[in-house]
């Protein structure tokens, strides 16, 4: 029973921390903390977090007592950027927006990037704020919605292609003490707009980091979004990201989540396909080692007929790492002629690595094409022998097979510089095996 008792302690600590903040009187935040109190932190019996002991990790590694903001010593962000990629850069350090490091190069006629906190505080909260990502479902959305420090609000006008990508860079400075950050993202893409959005976490120092994200992205009619998350923070990052993308008629979406490092990475990633003739490629790749735990909980919700979704998540687990995949697909009664595919494939390289994978399909319409499959296993011995019998060493043969296994998750990425960069991260990791 001790676990439950300390759960309450941690929950109370967080609520008390909220009561110390200057935002405590904000209506939306107050409502969110009430939801958080009601939902509580997930214990080991909570189905949605059964394989991911986030609460234990938080209890063990973090103090939630209010402390003064951390003075960062970060002087340059160059090492965290993507080489050769000319992009708009939005930087958060320990959850606080950094105007000094951020750099917007696209004209305002192409993209409007503003301070979400300001927009919300001026009592003219954007209409899509907390519209599709509700605070009553996941405790970490509720937690973020009550405690969020800063956020960015991105608007892309109709019929506009944003020619330069947008990178949202989250840096946690954990040199001197733990870092706790809660940040938000709201993106509204108007009709027929196009955008490539990249998000990356990085850190310095070896203290613990807890970061929650709440992200809402609205993709209106005929708009097209490429969304890439790069999760290769080598620090002690514990993160819970709640991301929700809402698609309207004829919109296109490519997502790619690459997870390579971190202590505990939880992605709750949902796509609501609320339009006809939409196309969604929902890809992920987790290449884990050490003690990293990466948990992808995904939802594809087909609400309207005639749309297509293809979810492909792949993982390679080495060392003592653990992967978790949960893929929910809903096809609502009205969503006839839906094509929805899901595949989750895993390779375990050691006896101590693990994967828990679970597809969950709920199909209410009768005229649909849906398929799903999940596999987990070792590298194919016969294929390894075949490569070796042609002069390729065991380690190189393994690297070749793993790279070939991983590569198709990158297919949907269009920007060649970004693709080359992701490819280099993947190659480098796999050649190490």
């Amino acid at each position: 029973m001790s676990t439950i008792a300390s759960d309450i302690d941690l929950k109370e600590k967080i609520v008390r921390a909220f009561e110390q903040t200057p935002d405590r009187k904000n209506v939306q935040r107050t409502e969110a903390i009430q939801h958080f109190q009601k939902l509580g932190l997930p214990g080991n019996k909570t189905e949605e977090y059964r394989f991911t002991p986030i609460t234990k990790a938080l209890e063990k590694n973090f103090s939630f007592n209010q402390s003064s903001p951390i003075e960062t010593k970060i002087k340059s962000i160059d090492q965290f950027l993507i080489p050769n990629l000319e992009a708009n850069i939005i930087v958060f350090i320990n959850g606080t927006y950094s105007p000094d490091f951020s750099k917007i190069i696209s004209p305002e006629s192409e993209i409007k990037i503003s301070d979400l906190r300001k927009a919300v505080n001026q009592n003219e909260a954007p209409i899509y704020f907390e519209k599709y990502l509700q605070t009553s479902v996941d405790p970490f959305t509720a937690l973020n919605s009550s405690l969020w420090q800063d956020g960015v609000f991105i608007q892309v006008p109709a019929k506009t292609k944003v020619s330069k990508s947008v990178i949202v860079l989250h840096i946690n400075d954990a040199e001197t003490e733990q870092s706790i950050a809660h940040t938000r993202l709201l993106v509204v893409m108007e009709e027929e707009s196009e955008l490539t959005l990249i998000e990356r976490s990085a850190s310095t120092g070896s203290n613990n980091i807890f970061h929650t994200f709440a992200e809402e992205i609205v993709v209106k009619e005929k708009a097209s979004l490429d969304y890439v998350k790069i999760q290769n923070d080598e620090g002690k990052l514990h993160q819970v990201a709640n991301s929700m993308i809402h698609q309207s008629n004829n919109s296109k979406l490519n997502t790619f989540t690459l997870t390579m490092n971190g202590s505990l990475i939880r992605n709750n990633f949902s796509i609501a396909i609320d339009g006809e003739n939409c196309e969604s490629h929902f890809h992920g790749l987790y290449l884990l080692n050490g003690n990293t735990l990466a948990d992808n909980h995904t939802v594809v919700d087909h609400l309207k007929p005639n749309s297509f979704s293809n979810e492909l998540y792949k993982g390679v687990m080495d060392g003592n790492s653990k992967g978790v995949f949960n893929g929910k697909i809903f096809v609502r009664p009205y969503a006839q002629k839906t094509n929805a595919f899901q595949s989750n494939r895993n390779i375990l390289l050691t006896d101590t690595a693990a994967i828990n994978t679970k597809p969950q399909l709920e199909i209410w319409a009768d005229d649909v094409k849906c398929s799903h499959g999940c596999t987990s296993g070792q590298l194919d011995e016969e294929a390894l022998f075949y490569l070796r019998s042609r002069g390729i060493s065991l380690n190189e043969a393994k690297a070749m097979l793993l790279y070939a296994f991983a590569l198709d998750t990158l297919e949907a990425i269009k920007d060649p510089i970004l693709k080359t960069y992701l490819d280099s991260l993947i190659s480098k990791r796999l050649n190490k095996f």
């Binding site: 075949y386 065991l394 790279y403 296994f405």
Partner: protein, 251 residues
Amino acid sequence: MLSVKNLKAKIGEKQILNGIDLQVKAGEVHAIMGPNGSGKSTLASVLAGREDYEVTEGEVLFEGKNLLELEPNERACEGIFLAFQYPVEIPGVSTVNFMKTALNKIREYRGQPSLDAVAFLQLMKEKMKLVEIDQSLLSRSLNEGFSGGEKKRNEIFQMAMLEPKLSILDETDSGLDIDALRIVANGVNKLRSKNNATIVVTHYQRLLEYIVPDYVHVLYKGKIVKSGGKELAMELEAKGYDWIKNELALA
């Protein structure tokens, strides 16, 4: 070139090879024939270094080196090539890239410089003609969705690229129609020289009409029970394997 003495091997608890003796010299073609389950493919696999098998006794020398101590890739670099009975499909790896990597590994082992892209393509085009294989096939994922004939031609193409000293063809005729068989055999024959040797493992005499052996060995219950010239293959075809079995039973 190859000297096999009293080779015994097992898989799990099952003894499959019970003392094989075989001498192969440069320039020779040896056929290993035998009924199903006699150990033909096991012999091919043991020579190539497949780890499922445990060698319990005997020795294998290849150009004076102890082959059994070498990793499969080292054996390939030394000049051994196994054409697989069931070539493996490998999604995401094209034959072209695979061959480029393999060839340069072997060249590196032999102290030769890597081939650049131009030289590699030139070599590839030349070797493609040997087995009448199309470049578009080689740009695709290795063996994925290939027909039986295409897979076997790809094996011989790889053999042509890597220029081994000793080629072991494991049931290369299985699953081939007569045209594909002719193309494959033709490729093998063109690659024959006084410096290399070939071991043809087959159940039927059919392939040996096209690849004419210097020696024929009959394998039965993990031992070579009869050796002779190419006429032995004809005799086997005419009389069947029961003839050997009966002869052994009488002896």
